[in-house]
């Protein structure tokens, strides 16, 4: 078994046409011998929605902090609209809206006070849109930020981020702690914004169902490395779940060998037969597979992003496999 987790299609867009360019980014904390991020490179084309996924501790928030110029990378670079994020942070932030993982506005300030504060900082500020959104989302504008629920705080942060009419929106795992209704409202606002303005979005999230609705492109971080960087369409087309019976096999240890034409990410023997997740599905390969001696009742089904993510991050690296 081998996994094809490398870039399925080339990252579109030259340097100049990208909203975000991360090049060979390394982040190391203290004397920890293992970097949190190891040589991570990717681009986010303008107008696209890029979802950066990974398990907790994969390095997503470190990457976002470097990208926003809040943290200096150990090595490598992050650029927004072609300009270095560390050096030009203050200027770049006029074009960037941020919704952080933990809403970090001063707890004593109300949404109205935050709006007044932000209006002094952004050249293209649309203050009316903040109150329109808050009214629509049923979030009070005159209650201290610290007294709002986590979901309401996130929606205030999103409303403020969108009011700066940003060219790039950075959402760092904004939905944990939100109930289903707040999550739906959050993603609906985003989808509406994207339809209206075509804003570029870089999103890290564990809410893969929400991500799947809007992402064009997906990157997956695993163990500090970007193990996948690909369009969602391409991912969906090449990942499939295969279910089949194998009447020709007697020895259970040899189950799965008939999948040699595929890169199998996961193979499980079930009571009724074999279930496998493959990462290089193709109609021709599947036709040949179905014709193999002993393979019966073969069917291929599409995977959700959540299933693809679980297959990719759940699989052991070649190094881990060797050690095992």
């Amino acid at each position: 078994m081998s996994a094809t987790l490398s870039t399925g299609s080339a990252a579109p867009g030259a340097l100049g046409s990208s909203a975000v360019d991360v090049r060979r980014l390394v982040v190391r904390y203290g004397e920890n011998p293992k970097p949190t991020l190891q040589e991570v490179s990717f681009s986010v084309p303008r107008g696209s929605v890029y979802a950066l996924l990974g398990r907790i501790g994969a390095g997503k928030s470190s990457l976002v902090r470097c990208l926003l110029g809040q943290q200096k990378p150990t090595a490598g670079s992050c650029a927004i609209f072609g300009e270095g994020a560390w050096k030009n942070r203050a200027r770049l932030m006029t074009r960037v809206g941020v919704v952080p993982e933990d809403p970090d506005a001063p707890p004593a300030m109300t949404a109205r006070q935050l709006e007044a504060f932000f209006s002094r900082l952004y050249p293209a500020w649309n203050g009316g849109s903040v109150f329109d959104r808050l009214r629509r989302l049923d979030v009070p504008a005159d209650i201290a930020f610290g007294s709002l629920s986590k979901g309401q705080q996130t929606l205030v942060s999103l409303s403020l981020a969108l009011a700066s009419t940003p060219d790039l929106l950075v959402l760092d795992d904004p939905t944990p702690g939100l109930d289903a209704a707040a999550r739906a409202a959050f993603f609906d606002e985003l989808v509406g914004e994207l339809a209206d303005r075509g804003t570029t979005v870089l999103l890290t999230s564990h809410d893969l169902a929400g991500v799947e609705k809007m992402a064009d492109r997906v990157g997956i971080l695993k163990g500090g490395r970007l193990v996948l960087d690909e369009s969602l369409e391409s991912l969906r087309s090449r990942f499939r779940r295969l279910r089949y019976g194998n009447e020709g096999m007697v020895d259970p240890a040899s189950y799965g060998q008939e999948l040699s034409a595929f890169d199998s990410v996961k193979v499980k023997v079930r009571g009724w037969g074999i279930e496998a997740v493959v990462s290089n599905f193709g109609e021709e390969s599947f036709t040949r597979f179905v014709a193999l001696e002993g393979v019966v009742n073969a069917e291929a089904s599409a995977l959700s992003l959540e299933e693809i993510f679980a297959a990719v991050v759940g699989e052991r690296s070649p190094e881990e496999k060797r050690n095992a």
Binding site: G30, R65, Q70, R89, M93, D102, D104, P106, R120, Y122
Partner: protein
């Protein structure tokens, strides 16, 4: 500048109740003249109470604000709120410190205002031996700034919880001993006031010491915010490296001066 003012105004707006509290507290000294035993000296009672209150606020507020206004934001990872906005690091630093300074100074004057309005010049002549109010203002402002910065630096070291704290403690002791020894030598060798060589005047040294301290603390906290940004560990590193680097230079200059003076220079 616009960004710094916006940050400072935000800090002030968030703590506006402190102004009200200081003004209400400032009314209390007016009642002191009604207390038994103080009715005979109402003017003195009011003035002394007002100066005690103002001095307490001048010490407590900058210590409290210095420990919380910037250090807490860094320690609790809330400074990212500012760094996600089109604000330069220098604006964030200056705005936060300016906010703390204006709140402290404003509260000191609000606490003194009721008695000062009632007594006017007499309030000063009774309790300060006729000290000019402008002179009082001139010494209050740098004093509050020094306390604000000291509290910020101490709180940063204590709250950022990085390994730099060990170095901070060791170097604080080393430099305190070195500076004390140098000052002792200089003061012992110093000539009487009126000397044509100001570096040999004890009063001159005592004035320059807090000035140098404020300059070092300002530089260290500035580098802390500009270079450390929202990264607590890097922030502590930048603070400590700048603080102890500049303190080493200052100590070396002071030690060199002491050695030169002792040599009969």
């Amino acid at each position: 500048m616009r960004g710094a003012l916006a940050v400072a105004m935000r800090e002030i707006a968030e703590r506006k109740l402190l102004f009200l509290g200081a003004f209400v507290a400032g009314l209390l000294p007016l009642a002191f003249s009604l207390l038994p035993g103080l009715r005979e000296i109402p003017q003195e009672a009011r003035s002394v109470a007002m100066f005690l209150l103002a001095t307490s606020i001048a010490a407590a507020f900058p210590l409290f604000l210095g420990a919380t206004i910037l250090a807490s934001d860094i320690a609790e990872r809330r400074l990212a709120f500012y760094f996600s906005r089109p604000l330069s690091a220098a604006s964030i630093w200056a705005g936060k410190l300016l906010g703390g300074l204006l709140i402290s100074v404003g509260c000191v004057f609000l606490a003194g205002a009721p008695v000062l309005l009632l007594e006017r010049e007499r309030a000063f002549s009774l309790t300060t031996g006729g000290l000019d109010p402008r002179g009082l203002l001139a010494s209050t402002l740098p004093g509050i700034l020094l306390l604000l910065l000291l509290a910020h630096v101490a709180a940063s070291m204590a709250r950022l919880r990085s390994a730099w704290i060990v170095l901070d403690l060791v170097l604080a002791v080393v430099f305190a001993v070195a500076i004390t020894l140098s000052l002792r030598s200089l003061l012992l060798l110093a000539r009487p006031r009126g000397s044509h060589e100001p570096w040999r005047s004890p009063a001159g040294f005592l004035w320059w010491l807090p000035v140098a301290l404020v300059a070092i603390l300002l530089a260290a906290s500035w580098v802390q915010v500009v270079d450390g940004r929202a990264d607590a560990r890097r922030s502590h590193g930048a603070l400590s490296a700048t603080l102890w680097g500049l303190t080493a230079v200052f100590t070396a200059i002071l030690g060199g001066l002491a050695w030169w003076v002792a040599g009969g220079g």
